[in-house]
Symmetry: D4
Subunit: 148 residues, 8 copies
């Protein structure tokens, strides 16, 4: 059984394409809370409002860390997706965190980001551009079967 953590971009359907594509394989997927509003406001919603946006964000980011750290630490494979928009520093942070723990990293991004992500890619065991390639990797790793 392979435990896979899906980190990064939350505005496209890449997670669904992977989990759907991997149906039938012996894989369990985990990942962050992908509801953007809930993720941003969880801290103050549970632990009380903050006047200062900095501490509003801090409370939320630390609650989310309970989930993301467990997910990464228990994963065999950490897939990190970089989309076309936003800074996505949390995705790169997760990649570094996973790399230091010796996890098998798979980085998923379009060719435009290749140079900017070269240090991240260099720590990975695979660099893919499409979610379907991640599914093929998981199938091969588990069953030895190649596409086509």
């Amino acid at each position: 059984m392979l435990r896979v953590y899906l980190s990064g971009e939350i505005h496209t359907d890449w997670r669904e394409r992977i989990t759907k594509g991997a149906e039938g394989l012996d894989v369990t997927f985990t990942g962050p809370v992908t509801d953007h509003a809930a993720s941003d406001d969880c801290g103050v919603a549970i632990l009380g409002a903050e006047d200062d946006k900095f501490w509003h964000d801090r409370k939320g980011a630390q609650l989310n860390a309970i989930r993301t750290r467990k997910g990464i630490e228990e994963a065999d494979v950490v897939v990190v997706r970089f989309g076309d928009q936003y800074k996505q520093w949390n995705a790169a942070f997760d990649a570094g965190y996973a790399a230091a723990l010796g996890k098998s990293l798979v980085i998923l991004h379009g060719p435009d980001h290749a140079h900017a992500l070269k240090e991240v890619d260099a720590a990975a065991l695979a660099v893919a551009s499409e979610p379907e390639q991640v599914v093929q990797i998981l199938r091969y790793v588990l069953t030895g079967t190649l596409p086509g």
Copy 2:
């Protein structure tokens, strides 16, 4: 003695302001190669040219990793600077790497980046906006002396 690794932005003088400011303190500083061209091309310059830019970058990023991993792994404090430009995913990657190793993280960035860096800041023991604050932190940690 405090070993401090200075990660991130290479286009402003923040490293000099810290190392100069910390003169007289019992600190040793390390950091990446900050010559942009050398850092980009080191791999092919030493190990042979590549037709494909992707592998050109890979060779360089992996050589640089010999230096950066040693620097981070031996550091007591890892300072990560996010500047105003570029993606800076390697900086966020370093922060995640250092966090997973349990290093004391200090993040240095302007207020505009606060929300985008909230997960990175949440893993840090200090968030500063000016290099001089980092010097004050190092002085306080080593000597118990506060500014002013």
Copy 3:
């Protein structure tokens, strides 16, 4: 599945409020023996009486350590409750022990203790004042659902 260790105060019903509130969530709870008399006397009851109260206490504390260390080491989240009475040094000890192991710490205490607990709180990912907030944290971490 989330493994949660509930450390600290044994004289109020905070553990029951959390375990009851978390019914239906994929959580397992562990914690110390909360029968005060049994906890104090277990060592001599099993291993033989001691004239000196110091060794009476030692024998008991070491037996209890078999349970508490396993609980903390296997936990994903360690919740430490500080009540209004007593020294509660064992609670702070557990918090430090959990922090050094990299566990996700949640500290639970009333506002009066905030200054005295600042070092403990600073190692935590959440500081709550009511057990129901801990339930909300667990629900959010597992399901992404916020209260209200």
Copy 4:
């Protein structure tokens, strides 16, 4: 050479009695910043004021953690002193932190605290009541010489 971290009470001269008594031995001592005001206010003094006392304390406690974690992690022996006053939860936290790292713990307290500290004492290799006993321990460990 023995590296000794002196944690806990900051209102009596116990650190001086130990460091003075250990003169001539191959020991280096480290410890927290013992200037109470500086320790409380370091965060806001360097990183900016906070309206909320909770975050005022948080900023300071996290700066102090840079120093205390390094001190404990590099120590061979961690001595934790519990005085007659205050909650001293940070001392118990340090003891738990050191215990989880497998450090040799020496606990220093008067007989009145014995029962309340039984879990902390049970994790220690020595429990002393006077700083001079700590000096004798260090001398014995380094040279095999007993007092008298």
Copy 5:
């Protein structure tokens, strides 16, 4: 669930007394091969005879190490029994091995051995003289119930 490794003496019925006494508790027991002849000769029986008794013993001891290391490394509690006869250096070796791994140690021996075992006992969380006490410890650790 508690995983308990039973190390040491193989010529009395102490393992049976513990496993029988612990029936109904959520414990799994492991231990070395207790068939003395098989344990001594397993190496040469499987891997071929040796002229030299030293290598005959080596082959067997290394095969047995596959089992004993796994048992100790996966255990929560390691019970080490010292009987009245023989050198039993392998028992003391197992105790040291378990101690270095941070396992909860319970040492079981008669009062005559107390002084000779003082370093081993000093690394343990409990020192018992009868197998029934070990059962009581396991019951207390799992259920909080004391005997009588």
Copy 6:
């Protein structure tokens, strides 16, 4: 339950002889993808063709590493088979990798290779020449039963 990773030679039936022989024992076996062509080409088949054979090989070897590292890291026993042909440096690499992780190593090779493999054998708990001996080892380790 014993988790056994079978590393090395892929051109004879030694894996089948072990897994078949171990039927009825509480063992789970893992190993690399043994389809030579799939193993060589998996990288380019999934992630895109490479002009340079060096990077063709790199992509494949890194995908295979996702599987082999997980297999070795989760194993209790790592069996490494050296056949009569080829360099088999990946087998020796796996042995070194497993040794550094403290795994129980069993090396399987004919007598001709003994001198060349002396450093590898010296890190092992058993050196066998026939797959059936490995089955006997597994049976003995799990049940204490010797052959014959």
Copy 7:
């Protein structure tokens, strides 16, 4: 530079023969307190008398552990000497402790003890019978020079 811990027997001159023989080599030696009386009574001499011999021994053994654990944990090579007399369970305990930490073990004993020490020897990289052989090992490891 090689750090060598000399554990075990304290009634013959084997430590002197090794340290004298190794003069001129880049080695530092550490070991336990070898003054038998001081070692037995250190606990009560510093921390106060005990009526019960068991706790008298406990206090001493734990003080000695401060020294022995540091010595073993910082050593590259741990030499454990078993003499002709006494139970020497502390020596076997040290050997197990060192083995679990992955130290290079050298066991030193006469041929009569070979069978009883087979599990200890099986964890070692060398088994010698004379202190001079240990000197030769240290010289070879450091300089590549063989005797004669």
Copy 8:
């Protein structure tokens, strides 16, 4: 300062070319005993002759392991050279051992070995064919200076 371990081939002058080329750089080099005869016979020369070549080899390989493990474990960079002759399984074993410890690996071999070494190369941060390239890597990593 960079600690570099030079593993592998002992029949050409590659180590000399690297150590000579690196003069003036802040590097310390370690490596195995490269006197082939001494390396093969050290075990029996010190610990006594063996009739069986297998144990003759075992004794030697284990003595050599004292030196090689220390060298690899303390290194920042492990360079592994594969020459044109011999099986060189010990070199691949060292590479695997270093990889599992997270060392920065540099592999040095001619193009003919590329396919057979693909799993080893895939674990490395650089693959070079000439010793002078290793010198250039060390100079770049330490000083940021590129050749030419």
